[in-house]
Homo-oligomer: 220 residues x 2
DNA sequence: GCAAAAGTGTTGGGGTTACACCCATGG
DNA sequence: CCATGGGTGTAACCCCAACACTTTTGC
């Protein structure tokens, strides 16, 4: 028995210099065979915080990802079978580590697939609007949120981090200034490891020092 | 005929150096005779943007105030008669100009009254949580939002503006630095008018130049 | 004249911007 | 040896924080 509202999850990632969003192909009416952001009805006695994890898992196969509430959407005509309110959530995940795990558990979705944010298919319901709202949120919370680093591999190069910032902000940044700033932040740990398999000078790898991050951000 | 979700309005104001929130005394069960933030059910075919104005007017007598969506709240136990999701909205209004107009239109509320944010009565439902979330939002959006100035009279002194910032940020600010910063903003218009009825040097009055505000903020 | 708040500048430090070349690696 | 991205410093400027006294007014 479920309630009369749904949860939809905007799951963003970063690959190839562009932001990616995880979409699912619907296997049920309405909007059968359309791409949509993963979502479903909340159970009657289920807290939203629990529902969002369950639904994300059932629709995409992904587990244990951290989601933030984005907004409620309740346009009278957003759902063809009568108004259904949805609460949208936003999550960041790193592309590579979960690539192979993406597969709907529920038969409600046929498949799940990444799409570049600039090259989306037609979307079910008002899901385009929801995605656009997510991008605005991302722009505002950049650099205040550890979850930004969920978008990158655990070990990343400074160039990857810069490309991510550029993709979010929609403008190019100066390499030297970017690195200077990164240094002053104090919560990026340089590793004694380097990129592999590239046909040019291998870049140093870094990782987020979560301890220090929370110390620094907690105060600022 | 209404839907199965409600809208609740956090209406903030500023008077006497402290933030104030407008609460309504409930005249119906559940939580009859309790103080609550004004809210009610959305009609089945009513857009949220319309509902929020209607509900605000019916419960408080206030019209034409601008509201922003804050978040959805849907705790299983938040409503004693079964889970009811609410979408909370946030508005700022200036205290003096609407003091006399505050009176519920609907009999669903007995009265509406301002409370200092630091001295709230027990509240119905999860309304305390909703108010606390509003204050967090206010802190984050300070100085980016023209609606901040809805909290002040149309003509205000720089000291009033400073006290408002201090109330929101929860710390004192340096007078000279504050004024210097205000000057650089470029969207506060000094008037050729002064405070009246004070027993000390009368302060110059200012008002927000909305034209310039949108020019400046639109770019930054 | 006194109480109460208005109004006003300067300095030092920290952060941001603009800008260009050499280095290491794989093919 | 060439193509590709990795990595590095300095100077000008702007913004922010710290700090105290004089002015105006009503009573």
């Amino acid at each position: 028995m479920h309630s009369q509202f749904t949860i939809d999850c905007v799951i963003l990632s970063f690959d190839n210099g562009t932001l990616q969003v995880l979409l699912t192909e619907r296997n049920e009416y309405p909007y059968k065979d359309w791409w949509s952001i993963p979502g479903y009805f909340v159970d009657k006695y289920e807290e939203m915080e629990d529902a969002v994890y369950r639904i994300c898992h059932e629709m995409t196969g992904l587990k244990n990802i951290y989601m933030d509430q984005l907004a409620a959407f309740a346009g009278v005509k957003r759902h063809p079978e009568g108004r259904i309110l949805t609460v949208a959530y936003l999550a960041f995940v790193q592309y590579d580590s979960i690539k192979s795990k993406i597969k709907p558990v529920s038969t409600y979705m046929k498949q799940a697939k990444w799409f570049a944010i600039n090259d989306l298919p037609d979307l079910a319901f008002d899901h385009l609007e929801i995605i656009n709202k997510s991008l605005g949120r991302l722009k505002n919370t950049i650099s205040y949120s550890a979850s930004l680093y969920e978008l990158l591999p655990e070990k990343f190069t400074l160039t990857q981090l810069q490309l991510l910032h550029e993709a979010i902000l929609g403008k190019t940044l100066d390499k030297r200034n970017f690195r200077k700033k990164i240094n002053t932040l104090g919560y990026l740990k340089p590793l004694d490891e380097y990129q592999k398999g590239v046909s040019y000078r291998a870049a140093k790898l870094y990782k987020l020092d979560k301890r220090k991050f929370h110390k620094v951000i907690g105060q600022g």
